[in-house]
Symmetry: C2
Amino acid sequence: MSRASETAYQKIRSFILQGEAVPGMQLTEEKLSEISGVSRTPVRDAVRRLENEMLVVRSASKRLSVADWSEGEVDEMFTLRAMLEAHAAARAAQRIDGDALNALRGINDELKQAINQSPPNITSFLEANRRFHDLILECARSPRLSKLMPALVEQPVVRRTAHQYSKTQLDQSAVDHDELIAAFAAKDADWARSVMTSHIRRAFHSFSITAAPERS
Amino acid sequence: MSRASETAYQKIRSFILQGEAVPGMQLTEEKLSEISGVSRTPVRDAVRRLENEMLVVRSASKRLSVADWSEGEVDEMFTLRAMLEAHAAARAAQRIDGDALNALRGINDELKQAINQSPPNITSFLEANRRFHDLILECARSPRLSKLMPALVEQPVVRRTAHQYSKTQLDQSAVDHDELIAAFAAKDADWARSVMTSHIRRAFHSFSITAAPERS
DNA sequence: ACAATCTTTATTGTATACAATTCATGCCCG
DNA sequence: CGGGCATGAATTGTATACAATAAAGATTGT
């Protein structure tokens, strides 16, 4: 997208993900245009994109609000994400080349460095993690899959601001990634699929456990 | 959506699906606003929706064109659709109530009537088929799944204008639907998932076989 | 004739003004 | 008091004019 529309998208998105917005709170196009500093027209474009990622929802009478998903819906999201990302891993295993494989190794090294700082650098970890998964998606070479994934990935982040990551969990992520790389190197689609499924579902359960207390 | 934006969406969509548009052909916002009889603003809204359904694509320099997918990409779409619709069927099996079950039976009766006309009424068949699958999706009660499906369902229609349906294929669809209903009545999620998977993948292969000659 | 650059034209992006809806408030009548 | 209805305010939808950008075409120098 072009400049204004893109900045609006970024600003509104971070406004929601950085926790400045309360789930369920109403958003008017005018307020959003103030936040992002552009007119309503590009704001509307940005909102459409966010609507597709289901970060904002539109009520029956076209009013906008910050998405607020029930526990069951978050579960469902993880299930769908596990299915699709496992499928992406399987495709990637059949298509990946040596360069991409090395790139994955490099990204996972960065991820390990982020973990081994004290305290672990969560921001760097999340950033490397995102790049790792994005690169796999790219190697899957499925435009359609690439289109569907954004509606599944960022969602948990909304509630995760206060999320505590244990060193054990972080280390396990790096181990999973290493095993994925091994499966890719062996071009074993089923192996890759299984590892990815476990990886996502484990993340889901540790997310549920630490996120649950918030609901008090 | 509101009136103008919605009519734009409908008109452009049917313009593409009814085969008046050639895959790959360029679409300017102005021409689309002529076609739909509204100004460019609502056209842009409509285009965003179509872009998400991947019926139109946007080139690197923001120019619009009618989507044109390779054979491999159509395959991938069917695979994804099979995965997600099978998942929807499994969820529906656990959540469906008697009313919805009866509604499914009614819809499938209409579908059979459409088949048994001579010649079979393909339009009615497709319409009933769509309602059948839509109702299952609704019974799955997964907003996220409902959001993802549109990007997967209408795609093949683009090339299918000249598609010939054999009586055997049509009958098999009705039989599949009956078995799905049986799985739902038994609340057997795995059964429902399997039947739906077979149903979609069979449709895929009969589609490939009859659509292939077009590529000459 | 060819290539590089400039100019022109086509197309998309943005802002603003206004129209149409929807929501909230208060009023009247029961 | 309380429910329905009118009125006003807030919000979204649409059209249009203009700005920015990308594509196409013309021009010039070699």
